[in-house]
Symmetry: C2
């Protein structure tokens, strides 16, 4: 039987001090059953985003180790950066990858949240699928006012944490722990410098403007290149495939006589999302992912572990 596989994308409020960044990332390296897929520190945001994959148990172990480092070495009272945050360990989302349900990831988030609080004393809010209150599904609601605002507001009943005391950790603030689907970050760069066109396309393609569900779009300028970008998050790629989003952007771009210059897949992508799109473009019938040599090898390696 194949092992359960999750992704976890913890965000830490440190993007500048390389010794602290390396100390946080260290536990994620070389732990059996857990793979460090990627990590990116951004100095402007003053934030570290890590991508892990592995079995639920070892992923939790390394998260506790890394979180302990972050809690001891980051002081939110001295933290400044462009990205909203409430804690040293700011958010910890669990994402189902293989042979695990969303329900199990929600349970995992709750279990991990309680343990994390016990070991660090940091209060916890549960968000997205793991939210205990509907208004906390949206991370923005939990992070309202950021660390500085929450410090006072945490006393108010509607802002009490889900786990822990009604007061922030004196230096490490609070942490949002959640469960969500895999998010694909996908950009379509258009051969024009007219930002109005990117914004108009983003509006009609994204869910908030009445376009495709589970798709978030914004229009951005790429000034150095003289292009504009429709920047897209697909928050449920099983509901709206990459190809469908791209073809809709292409269709709308035609209205303005603007070509698609290129696209960008940003960060990690699960193989099924790509295979689904290749099957569309190539009209492939009955294609099974286990026909891909590498996926079959991974299956076999996973089985024998």
């Amino acid at each position: 039987m194949a092992k359960q596989l999750i992704e976890c994308v913890p965000n830490f409020s440190e993007g500048r001090r390389s010794d602290v960044i390396e100390a946080i990332v260290a536990p994620f390296r070389k732990r059996k059953g857990c793979a460090l897929l990627d990590y990116r520190a951004d100095a402007d945001h003053n934030r570290l985003v890590v991508s892990l994959a592995g079995e639920p148990a070892p992923v939790q172990e390394v998260l506790i180790e890394a979180a302990t480092v972050a809690v001891s070495r980051i002081d939110l009272n001295r933290h400044q950066g462009g990205h909203p945050r409430i804690g040293a360990v700011d958010v910890v989302p669990f994402v189902p990858l293989r042979d695990i349900t969303m329900e199990a990831c929600v349970e995992l988030a709750h279990h991990f949240g309680r343990r994390y609080h016990q070991e660090t004393g940091v209060p916890v809010y549960f968000y997205e699928e793991a939210a205990l209150m509907p208004e906390r599904r949206r991370l923005e609601a939990i992070r309202k006012g950021q660390y500085e605002g929450l410090k006072k507001d945490i006393q108010r009943p509607e802002r009490h944490p889900d786990v822990g005391e009604r007061t922030l950790h004196p230096t490490a603030g609070a942490t949002a722990i959640g469960a969500r689907k895999f998010l694909i970050a996908f950009n379509v760069n258009l051969g024009t410098d007219d930002i109005g066109i990117a914004r108009e396309i983003a509006k009609v393609v994204g869910a908030s403007g009445g376009g495709l569900g589970h798709v978030k779009c914004i229009g951005l300028p790429l000034k150095d290149r003289g292009l504009v970008q429709v920047s897209i998050n697909i928050v449920d790629y099983e509901k709206n495939a990459l190809y469908r989003v791209l073809e809709l952007v292409r269709m709308e771009a035609k209205r303005w006589g603007v070509p698609v210059a290129e696209t960008e897949l940003y960060g990690m992508v699960p193989a099924p999302a790509l295979l689904d799109s290749i099957a569309y473009y190539m009209q492939t019938a009955g294609f099974d992912p286990s026909q891909v040599i590498e996926l079959r090898l991974l299956e076999l390696l996973g089985d024998e572990k």
Copy 2:
């Protein structure tokens, strides 16, 4: 450092007796460092085609074990089937998959050929990239006259084996051992029952008719479905990508007003072949295969072994 990875697709002259088939396949299961990707026995062809992947050393070990079973249990004097063959172990091609050159696979074929002869007494011919004489690059030349014909012809200088005596093994015949690139089997089914159209398209798209190099095509009827098929082998997918072959077939089909009903990918496909085509259709710039979660996991698992 990632381990070297090869594919091997040994063909055995047994597609009917399930006890013999299972005895041949048994050594391919559960050997560390070698994965049984697929095996298909065809009763009409009376032939067993196995697909293995793994590191060169363990792949050779299991091949010797399986070959010993095949040599002891298959008698070519009693063998009948639709597919051309010269031996119990008919062909053994080595295919580079990762971090190994074609030159290394040719050496591997030669080394394995000598060892196989030593342990079984079966004479060996080297073919394709491993051929020692240009006229033996083509497997058809080696298999000319099949087992029955070769039994007499092996005495003639131009048909002496590359390894072993100038006489066939009394029951197991001879074996062709080679090195070649990965072959992708890809079919395009057309929405017409006019076989002439499939043959015409096959002719202009395939290399032998002056079309794309490294591509072999034939037109076939799919009588039960009322369709025709352009059946395609891409013998070097790095030289001619899937998307290019498909788009050329689509372009030619338009000439006849015939739609592409669907396509089929048959057997195993390497991930880079699919990623190359997805990058074409989605205009993805700078996409790195290690952004695919599963490929990254495979890389990490391969490293830690």
